[in-house]
Amino acid sequence: MTRGLFSQTGQNARLILRRDRIRLPIWLLAIILLTIVVAFAYTGLVPTEQERMVMAETMRNPAVTAMFGPGFGLDDYDYGAIMGHQMLLFTALIVGIMSVLIVARHTRGDEENGRIEMIRSFPVGRVANLSATTLVLLGANILLAILTGIGLWATGIEGLDLGGSMLYGAVLGVSGFFFAATTAFFAQLFESSRGTMGVSFAFLGFAYLLRAVGDVGNETLSLISPLGLVIRAEVYVNNYWWPVLLTFGLAIVITGLAYYLHSLRDLEAGFIPSRPGRKHASIFLQSPFGLALRLQRTAILGWVGGMLVLGASYGSVLGDLETYLEAMELIQAMLPDVEGFSLVEQFLPMLMAVISMICTIPVLLMVLKIKGEETKNRTEHLLARAVSRSRIMGSFLVLSLVVGFLVLSFGAIGMWSAGAAAMDEPIPLATILPAAMVYFPAILVMIGVAMLLVGNFPGATTLAWGYLAYSFLVVYLGAILQLPDYLAVITPFGHIPRYPVEDIVFFNLFLLSLIGVVLIIGGFWGYKKRDIFG
């Protein structure tokens, strides 16, 4: 064994703290505040015991179990049980993400960029950086645990007792440390920080899925998953500490393994050699469209999957929405009374407006990629060959249209399928799909705005995001805040018929599409004329 493996660990830890002196506090503060704000939000959402019992009933369906984990303390569903059941798992997931990002950055990320090489040229131990990273993450997660625990207890909300609150914090902290350990372990296996991060996130996602499957069917699977253990602490109800101790023990073992692997290997090497890529381009990658698709393949798949999940998560609560809605005066104020439609059906256009605006994000990303490629000096590779400007722009336009259609459809399908599982009288796909698709002309207008900016005012493409944010504020919050109607006139999302409550007004949709097409043409026109800067 080499001597001085750990020397200068303290100095390294200080370096990490110095470099993350903003990042780390923001993460911790955001997680703690989120937890406390949500705790207060529940006291407003379900203020009476009767409403909490209604909520507890909704927790008994399998779609919800798959999302939140098996319910516990449902017979006396106080705020503690609600937090421990509905919030803890998601927060643990967020803490896990924090740990993955920070650990990957300080281990494989630094190594890949040659910074560790610099550090190691000084009298610094071989595992000093790794142990410094581990120590910082351990400290950060302990701090998170204590502060969250005290913070929850200090809210004074009924049911959030000291013991439960401290366990709540401890579960979060230990989850964070566990995923820090696994990331440190994966960092030894892979040669790139992307590989490390990819596998670490995949592991996080796998842990969640394994738990979901286990919670619905086979409990053994849940016990294997670290996130399954989280929910089994039954925080605020039974306050079991064994999952925390077990997870911590596992994390220590994994960390030890990471140290051992790290001390064995060469700098910048990995135990899983990076797979050689293709030597030739496949036939899909031989056109500007193929390139546009290939560059954003992962993002597209992610968004389509993400919208499916988002749609499903809305859908899974649709079944019990009716009961909720009747209890919620706030939402009722937003919904005008319409005879002949259930409250859920009245709520549908609002959901679809939100979904369609979220769907606009990937669509705008696809269009604004034209600008991004130019900024990175990569458009010139295409333009210097026999590729016209219109062909480049057209490729990204077609892609954004296809992606817009896909994410919207998958959002609707996700909502329908989860709704069908959770509702007694499910809303048919024939209602949900058109309710989503009526928003497509609005998305077309957003595409047009982005195209116009890219083509004519490449320095001002951020305005497209501003416009989307404005639309979101006006359409979603406008109803709650009673904003004047004329504010909604200048956003395309304000002109979409509220199907199924209203009939589809094809004239509006046609007019919006026409505006979108005109804007798109304006984009092409400008892009053909202007200087390209790279």
Binding site: S192, R194, S274, P276, G277, R278, K279, H280, A281, S282, L285, Q286, S287, P288, G290, L291, R294, L295, K376, N377, R378, T379, E380, H381, L382, L383, A384, R385, A386, V387, S388, K529, R530, D531, I532, G534
Partner: protein, 298 residues
């Protein structure tokens, strides 16, 4: 026949005049060197030739077609290597080469493999992992494996090691031997000297010197080292003599090529122990203009 014809080309970026009425002509089968300090307007000129930037005044045409209007048609016949090669981090070098060759239209499989071997490139690696030199190689392989009529190369050998630089120069000369034309913007003057038939020097958006390599040599000065028995001889004020420095009991100085004869006659009256002359170098010419440009700036 002229392959590139630039006349009175002017380009402004806001208030900054990047190009100020430049003229330039490249004839078929020629290697044309385009040199100048950073920020002189080399890349701007090339981007106008590629139809990526639109000229404010003047004409730029390639193969008799307008660089802006007929860009796509022109690009079927040219191959371009940018100075700073930015590639897509997630694609492999091999994929990028194929894509580039495909986007140009023609394909030449055997040449691709041969060039990958000559440039010693691993095409199976992601561009993310490539060094600057390796990214440059990807662009060079893509350019030379396509059968273009004109190669536009913007400081292509920056980042290449000396071995690869040699391979690059071979590729350029091979292209020339096939009757192709090359427009080479470069910082490496020895490279320009070795490869080019004609040269233009650009400074602050203006062409300040241009002509065939031979013509330019007439403009340059011969470097001389002189030792005489007499200790002090007067060289100061002698017409055509510059940069006089005393060293180790001798002198080193530069002589304008057209004053060489007069200077030698003058020197012969002293007892010359040693007289060495070095051929005129492009670098001296360049440095001379460069120094002037440095002096211009406030």
């Amino acid at each position: 026949m002229s392959i590139i014809e630039i006349s009175n080309l002017t380009k402004n970026f806001g208030k900054v005049r990047a190009l100020d009425g430049i003229n330039l002509e490249l004839t078929e089968g020629e290697i044309y060197g385009f040199i100048g300090p950073n920020g002189a307007g080399k890349t701007t000129t090339i981007r106008i030739l590629l139809g990526i930037l639109k000229p404010d005044e003047g004409q730029a045409s390639l193969f008799g077609m307008d660089a802006w209007k007929d860009a796509v048609e022109i690009h079927r016949r040219i191959a371009y290597v940018p100075g700073e090669v930015n590639l897509w981090p997630d694609l492999t070098g091999g994929e990028v080469i194929d894509l580039f060759v495909k986007l140009r239209g023609t394909n030449n499989e055997s040449r691709r493999e041969e060039l990958i071997e000559r440039f010693d490139l691993d095409p199976s690696k992601k561009c993310r992992t490539y060094s600057k030199g390796n990214r440059q190689k990807v662009a060079l392989v893509a350019a030379f494996s396509s059968d273009a009529d004109l190669y536009i190369l913007d400081e292509p050998s920056a980042g290449l090691d000396p071995l690869m630089e040699k391979v690059f120069q071979e590729c350029v000369l091979e292209a020339k031997s096939r009757g192709k034309s090359v427009f080479l913007s470069s910082h490496i003057l020895s490279e320009v000297e070795r490869l080019c038939d004609s040269v233009s020097i650009i400074r602050q958006g203006k062409i300040i010197e241009s002509g065939s390599m031979r013509e330019l040599h007439h403009l340059t000065r011969t470097n001389m080292i002189l030792e005489t028995k007499e200790d002090s001889i007067s060289l100061e004020g002698l017409d055509g003599v510059h940069e006089i420095e005393e060293s180790n009991g001798g002198y080193s100085f530069q002589v304008d090529s057209d004053k060489l004869d007069a200077v030698i006659k003058y020197l012969s009256q002293f007892e010359v122990i040693k007289l060495e002359s070095a051929p005129p170098r492009l670098e001296d010419l360049f440095m001379r203009h460069y120094r002037v440009s440095g002096g211009d700036q406030k």
